[in-house]
Subunit: 387 residues, 2 copies
C-alpha cells in the first residue's frame, strides 16, 4: 500500500485534536482542524487551523475541499455536510448516519436496543409542552427514573434524576425520554476501535469515578475494581454496541456495572474520549493513533496495557479570565506522573484545562499520586490580558 | 511558581523539533521554530515556524525578540546571536559558550580532558597546508589513528581512519586532530539532562549499533549488551562529561566501551539525540520533555526504563524526489511497534526519514521485530510534484 501524506480534516480543535496531532505527525498525516476559536488547543500540534464553525454546512464543506478524510472530535457537527462530503468520495469516519444516531440519545438507545445490546429500560416521553401529560406518562413508566434530553446534553447537563415523589415541575423541558434509575456499582468505559474494513480492537475496561458536583469524570482507573467475569462481559457488550452503530474509528462505550451484576450501556461517544487518555502512556497503542489507524484502514494496534494507571482531570477554579497555572513543578515531580495541559487561553471555573496520568506498579498508589498532583496543580483565570 | 505559557524558540526545525513539539504542548509551552525550509518537519507539531537560517545572526536575533527562552536542535547555529540574546536576559540553553566548545571537536576534547573525563589520547595536527609536515606529525603521534576535522563533521563525515601505513595524501584537508584508534567493543550513548539550576538526571546506557556503510546509527538497544559494572561506569563518565561542559538541557554522551574494559567519551551532543528516541515509549520521561523540564528549571523526570526496547532508523533509498512511503501497514503490525515518520517532503538516498521503536519483554525479540519493520517500510523519492 502506498501511504503518502494523506490529508485529514478534524471537525473541532479542542484537547482531543491537540492529542491527536502528535499521532498524526508520527504517521505523516497532514492534519487541519476546523474550529471557531482562533489559536484553539489543537492548532499547536497540527499542520493548520481553519477558523470556522463545525456546525455550519458551508464551513465544513469548504474545509473538506482538499482532504482525503474527515473525522470529528465532537458529535455536534453538520451531518448534512458530512453526508455530501462522503458522497463526493471523501472518507468520513464516523459517518453522518452514526453521528445522527448518537446526537439523538433516544435514537442511540433504540439502535442499541434493536441490536440486543443490554441497557436500562427506557421510553420516550410524550412530545408535548403539557407537563401534566408528561408527568402522567412518567408515572406509568415508573418513578424513580432518569430523564434525559434527546439532544445537546453532555457532562451531566440535560439529565435529571426524578425521585419517586417527583412533581410535574421537576421535569426538564424539551424532547426527552426516561430510563430506569440503575443501581450503579461502578461506571466503566471501554474504548473500542473499529477500522473501516470492520476489524475491531478492544481495550480492557477503565473505571470512571464521577465527580457528583461537576458531573465530570474525576478519575479514570486501570485496572477497574470489578471481577474479571464482569470485565470480560463489559468488553463483549462494548464491542457489540460499536458494531451495532456501524461507524469507523475509536468509540468510547460508557457502561454501568450494577449491584446485581448486570452490565448496561449508558452511552457511546464515536471518537477518542476523556476516559481513554491514560492509553497515551499506559497502553501499547494510544487511543489517538488507534483512531487514525482505524479511519485510514491500517492494521489496528495492540490494546495491551503496560501496567496500572490512573488519570485525573485538571479543572479550572477561581475566577474566569486568562489562564494561569500554579504548582506545575510539584505536579510533575511524582514518579510516573504525566501532565497534559490543553492550552486553553481562557479559564472558567469547572472547565477541563488538562489532565494528569500517573503510571505506577500499584493502582491505588497511582491514584493517590494522581489526586495529589491534580490538587497541587491549580488553574485559574487572571484579569491580565495580552499574549 | 507561576508557569503561564512560556514562549520558546527552537533553532532548527527537523525531526528533533517535531518530537519536541508534543512535549511542549503537554506543558503548554508556546513553541516557534526557526528553519530555512518552509513546512519543515517541526512545523507540524509546534505553534509556528519562522522561515530563516539558524546560522544567520540577524535571523536568530529577530526570531528571539518575543520569547522567554531559546534552545537548539542542531549545534551549527549563530553563537554570536545567542550570546547577545542571553545578555538581553533571555534564557539560552545550551549557552553560546557550550555550543562553541562542542562545535570545535578539538576544543570539546580539551575541555573534557581538562576535567579528567576519560577519552582517547589526542593531539592537534599542525595547522598548515603542508601535508608532509602534517604526515610527519601523525607519525610522531603514532599510526594507526583517527583523524577528525575540528569543524562541521557529522554522521561519519569529517572522520578518516588512518592505517599504520597511511601516506600523506590520505590526510583530510582542514583544521583537524588525531585520536588513538580505539579497540571498540560496543558503542554506547548516555542521555544526561542537566537542569539550569544544576540538577542532573541520567538514563541508563543505550547501545548504538552503527551502520559501517552509512556511518549512521543502525539500531539502538536497551538494555545494552555489557556487564553492569561497565554500564554503571558509563553513567558516571557521562554525568561528569556533561558537568564539565556546564550547559543546561539534555545531552547525549557517545561513548566507546573498549575490549580492555575502558569507557571513553567519543563526543557530546548538547541536545536530544537519535540515540534517545526510544525514550519516547520505553522511558518514564522522554528525552524531549526532559529537555524542556531542564531548560525551564522544572524538576527532572524519572529516567526509569519501562522495559526493553530497540530503535531502528528508517533510511531513504532509491531515487531522490518527493517522499513516498511503502509498507506502513506491515510496519505498524508488530506487537509493540511504534512508527515515527519525520514528514520530510524530499527524499534522498541515505537520508533519515523516520524511526521505529519496538518495545517487547525480550530485547533480542524487539530487535528482530524492529529490523523487520525497518526493512518492510521503504521510503523513496518519486518524480511526482505537487502537494
Amino acid at each position: 500500500m502506498e501511504f503518502s501524506r494523506p490529508r485529514l480534516l478534524v471537525l473541532g480543535g479542542g484537547q482531543l485534536g491537540r492529542m491527536l496531532g502528535p499521532a498524526a505527525a508520527r504517521l505523516d498525516i497532514a492534519t487541519t482542524v476546523l474550529d471557531p476559536t482562533p489559536a484553539c488547543p489543537a492548532a499547536a500540534t497540527t499542520d493548520a487551523q481553519i477558523v470556522g464553525s463545525f456546525a455550519d454546512y458551508t464551513a465544513v464543506v469548504e474545509a473538506a475541499a482538499d482532504v482525503d478524510a474527515v473525522t470529528v472530535e465532537i458529535e455536534h457537527v453538520s451531518t448534512a455536510a458530512l453526508r455530501d462530503i462522503a458522497s463526493g468520495g471523501i472518507a468520513v469516519h464516523p459517518d453522518a448516519a452514526e453521528l445522527e444516531t448518537v446526537q439523538d440519545k433516544l435514537a442511540q438507545r433504540r439502535a442499541l436496543g434493536e441490536a440486543g445490546v443490554p441497557g436500562p429500560r427506557f421510553e420516550a416521553l410524550p412530545d408535548t409542552e403539557d407537563n401534566a401529560e408528561r408527568h402522567a406518562a412518567a408515572g406509568r413508566f415508573g418513578l424513580p427514573a432518569v430523564q434525559k434530553l434527546r439532544h445537546g446534553g453532555y457532562d451531566g447537563r440535560g439529565v435529571a434524576v426524578l425521585p419517586g415523589d417527583a412533581q410535574a415541575d421537576a421535569l426538564l423541558p424539551g424532547a426527552s425520554y426516561l430510563e430506569d434509575l440503575v443501581d450503579i456499582d461502578r461506571e466503566l468505559s471501554v474504548i473500542v476501535a473499529r477500522s473501516v474494513s470492520g476489524a475491531t480492537a478492544v481495550y480492557p475496561p477503565f473505571e470512571m469515578e464521577m465527580d457528583p458536583d461537576l458531573n465530570l469524570v474525576r478519575a479514570v482507573l486501570y485496572p477497574a475494581r470489578l471481577p474479571e467475569e464482569v470485565l470480560t462481559r463489559a468488553e463483549d457488550v462494548a464491542r457489540r454496541a460499536v458494531e451495532a452503530l456501524g461507524g469507523g474509528g475509536v468509540h468510547a462505550v460508557e457502561l454501568f456495572a450494577t449491584r446485581s451484576g448486570e452490565v448496561l450501556v449508558n452511552e457511546i461517544a464515536p471518537r477518542p474520549h476523556n476516559s481513554g487518555h491514560l492509553t497515551i502512556e499506559a497502553a501499547e497503542t494510544d487511543q489517538f493513533e488507534q483512531h487514525l489507524r482505524a479511519i485510514f484502514d491500517l492494521p489496528l494496534g495492540s490494546t495491551r496495557m503496560r501496567g496500572p494507571a490512573v488519570m485525573t482531570n485538571i479543572i479550572a477554579s477561581g475566577a474566569a479570565g486568562q489562564t494561569a497555572y500554579r504548582g506545575i513543578a510539584e505536579a510533575v515531580t511524582g514518579e510516573g506522573a504525566h501532565v497534559h495541559l490543553y492550552g486553553k487561553r481562557q479559564s472558567r471555573p469547572g472547565r477541563k484545562m488538562g489532565h494528569i496520568t500517573v503510571c505506577r506498579d500499584d493502582r491505588d498508589d497511582a491514584r493517590r499520586a494522581a489526586e495529589h498532583a491534580a490538587a497541587v496543580l491549580t488553574v485559574t483565570g487572571t484579569a491580565q490580558t495580552g499574549r
